[in-house]
């Protein structure tokens, strides 16, 4: 199989993307075939987390994932609408905390936070949530505001 269709549910819409070459990364399928430019290419080596999207609700480095390998999955990107409540809440928290400077890392951070909250819940230990963001880099080093955004989303454990 040198190329073939990839079926994805992207942000709630079923898409059949024809003729995707085997080596193509999910990142490139999203950005160049679906024109969803919100997902960023940073390092392309899995170091920076800028390309993080959700695949079936779990965070995924789209630069190290072949599009064909997630055939049949649901992919959520930063462009997802307000009906996706968790991502919408994370976006709002980033806005309220002013958790961005140049903004390039922001989509990856937002998706990483949304993925962590979906997996661990908003009552998860603060340390675990912050440790879980270790794979995302902000070259503006605007981490303090990002941590504030996470704190806005946290709820005290019962």
């Amino acid at each position: 199989m040198t190329a073939g269709p990839v079926r994805l549910n992207v942000n709630g819409t079923a898409r059949v993307i024809p003729d995707v070459p085997g080596p193509e990364r999910l990142l490139d399928t999203l950005r160049w075939r679906l024109k969803l430019k919100g997902t960023k290419e940073g390092c392309r080596t899995g170091d920076c987390g800028a390309c993080t999207v959700l695949v079936d609700g779990r965070s995924c480095l789209s630069c190290l994932t072949l599009a064909h390998e997630v055939d049949g999955s649901a992919v959520t990107t930063i462009e997802v609408g307000p009906d996706e409540l968790l991502v919408a809440r994370v976006r709002a928290a980033f806005e309220a905390a002013g958790a961005l400077q140049c903004g390039y890392c922001t989509p990856g951070f937002v998706m990483a936070v949304a993925g962590l909250l979906r997996e661990r819940g908003t009552a998860a230990p603060r340390e675990e949530l912050l440790e879980g963001l270790g794979g995302n880099l902000c070259r503006c080093t605007g981490y303090a505001a990002i941590v504030r955004a996470v704190d806005l989303l946290r709820t005290e454990a019962p």
């Binding site: 199989m1 085997g22 080596p23 779990r58 965070s59 994932t65 990483a112 270790g134 794979g135």
Partner: protein, 283 residues
């Protein structure tokens, strides 16, 4: 980007055939791909065919009593999330949750980590310390080898043409722990990895190091220095000294030989202390 063909077999037999019909190095199995695809992108590997394992029924985690069998394509995050792993194999839990980042662990697998045999693999040392076994399937049948035999050198294993790792088996729960040193806590290659386990049945220690030389290695002299039970401070110091002097250390762009030598001793002392104090060491 290289022009490999991606094939996605539905059965183990098809996967073996897809790997076997090409010459050495021309076909590569793909599990999570987080390491393989980097080597392909950077030209260190140029397979004509990549064989995806994603449809094979190996995303499994099975308990047989206390013995744990991990399917080779199970994402590391799923292993980390199993509550029993944390209790029965604490060193494995610590090692797994310190690989890469959360997003990486959603794709990276035990099988991939093992077959890729990176010198600074964060998992191979704990697999060595736990005497893990590798279950292989191939064109000439199934076989099982110890991880210590399977990993031969940097990026080299005992995997034969057409063979695949089906699962990795952990025979016996062990008080165990793991320590790393890296520049960055996440998504970085370790400068030093130390894994330590105590076998309650055999009354003996296992000590393994990684990241310091081309091949992750069991250190038998250091393990013997820890004795057959709870080591005293002197024994721990002797073990650390043995590890620092007897293991092979190299200098590369990540760290100097001297730095690694000193760090292995320090991390070994801390890891043994942690196993004895907090990881269910028998009274």
């Amino acid at each position: 980007m290289s022009g490999f063909d991606l094939v996605v077999p539905e059965t183990v037999e098809e996967a073996i055939a897809a790997l076997q019909t090409l010459g050495p190095g021309e076909a590569a199995p793909l599990a999570g791909g987080t390491d393989l695809l980097l080597d392909v992108d950077e030209g260190r590997l140029a397979p004509r065919r990549i064989v995806s394992l994603r449809r094979l029924p190996w995303r499994t985690l099975d308990w047989n009593g206390n013995s744990l069998t991990v399917g080779s394509t199970l994402p590391l995050r799923s292993l980390e999330d199993d509550p029993q792993v944390r209790v029965k194999y604490p060193g494995l839990y610590e090692a797994v949750r310190n690989v890469g980042s959360v997003a990486l662990r959603h794709r990276a697998t035990v099988g991939g980590n093992l077959v890729r045999a990176a010198p600074a693999s964060d998992l191979i040392p704990i697999l060595l310390a736990l005497d893990a076994e590798v279950d292989l399937v191939g064109p000439h049948g199934d076989r099982t080898v110890l991880v210590d035999r399977f990993v031969q050198a940097s990026r080299r294993t005992d995997l034969r043409p057409g063979e695949l790792v089906r699962s990795v088996r952990f025979p016996e729960p062990r008080p165990s722990d793991f320590r790393w040193q890296r520049v960055r806590p996440a998504n970085d290659i370790s400068q030093v990895v130390v894994a330590v386990a105590f076998s309650p049945a055999g009354r003996r220690w296992r000590v393994a190091v990684g990241g310091v030389s081309p091949r992750p290695t069991l250190l038998t002299e250091a393990a013997d220095a820890l004795g057959s039970g709870r080591p005293d401070a002197d024994a721990i110091r002797r073990a650390a000294e043995s590890a620092s002097t007897r293991a092979l250390f190299v200098t590369d762009r990540r760290a100097s030989e001297e730095y690694r030598r000193r760090l292995v001793g320090t991390l070994l002392e801390r890891t043994v202390a942690s196993v004895v104090e907090t990881k269910g060491f028998p009274a």
